[in-house]
Symmetry: C2
Subunit: 114 residues, 2 copies
Amino acid sequence: MMNQQQALSAFAALSQETRLQIVRLLVTAGPVGLAAGAIGEAVGASSSKASFHLSHLEQAGLIESRRESRSIIYSAAYPALAGLIGFLMRDCCQGRPEVCEPAVAAISACACAC
Amino acid sequence: MMNQQQALSAFAALSQETRLQIVRLLVTAGPVGLAAGAIGEAVGASSSKASFHLSHLEQAGLIESRRESRSIIYSAAYPALAGLIGFLMRDCCQGRPEVCEPAVAAISACACAC
DNA sequence: TCAACCTTTCAAGAAATGTTGAGATGATGA
DNA sequence: TCATCATCTCAACATTTCTTGAAAGGTTGA
C-alpha cells in the first residue's frame, strides 16, 4: 500500500516532461521494455540526460531495469503505477463520491479493462 | 480532457508535501471548503507559506477559491482531480490491461462508488 | 586481449522552486 | 472613519533540480 512519501516521490518523478514521456513510452512498450539508448533517442535526450531521468524514475519505483548483454533494458513497474492510481482513488474517496464517479466512468470507457 | 501540460503541472503541484496535505484536506472538507487561515493552521504553515502553496495549487487547477466576507475559502476542484485520474488511466490502458486491473479492483473496494 | 559499444558517473554551472519576514491590500464592524 | 482582521505580495536568500560535456565502467565479438 503506497504511503504519502512514496506518492510524493512518484508525483515528483511524473512532473518532469522527459520523465513523463519516458513513463508513457514504457507503459506502451510493455513488460519487454526498451534499452536506455532507444529510450533516449525516442524522447530526444542525450545519453547522460536519459540516464539521469531513468535513474530518477527507477528511484521513485515507477520503472525497473535489467541488463541484457551490452544494454540496460528498462520497463514500466506496473504495480507501482496501479498503486499510485489507488492512492489517488483512496484520497478522492474520503467521503467524496463525486470525485470517484468520473473515474469510474473513465474505467467503464476504458477499452482494456471492461 | 486533460493534456500533457496540464498533467505535468498537476503532478508538480502534488509533489510537494504541504501541497499534497492541503489537497487531501480539501478533498475531505468537501465543496464547502476551508478558509486560508484554517488550512495553514491545519498543515502547520505560516500565512505566507500557505498563501504561496494555495496559489500554486489554484494555478494548477486543483483547487478553487471564493471570497466570503473577510476570508478566502478554498475548495477542491473535483473535476480536475477526476481528470488527472482519467489521464493516468488513459495512459495505463494504452495496450496494457494489467495496469488497469488493480485500479479496477481498487475501485471495486472503494466504499463510495460501488 | 583489445577495440567498439552502451550506459553511467561526475563536476560545474544554470535554472527553477521553496522559505522567510516585513509590509501592503482589502473587508468588516464599531 | 478607523482599528482590526484575514490574506496576499514582495524581495532576498537557501535549496533543490536540471543540463552539459567529458571521462569512466562494464560487456561483447573479433
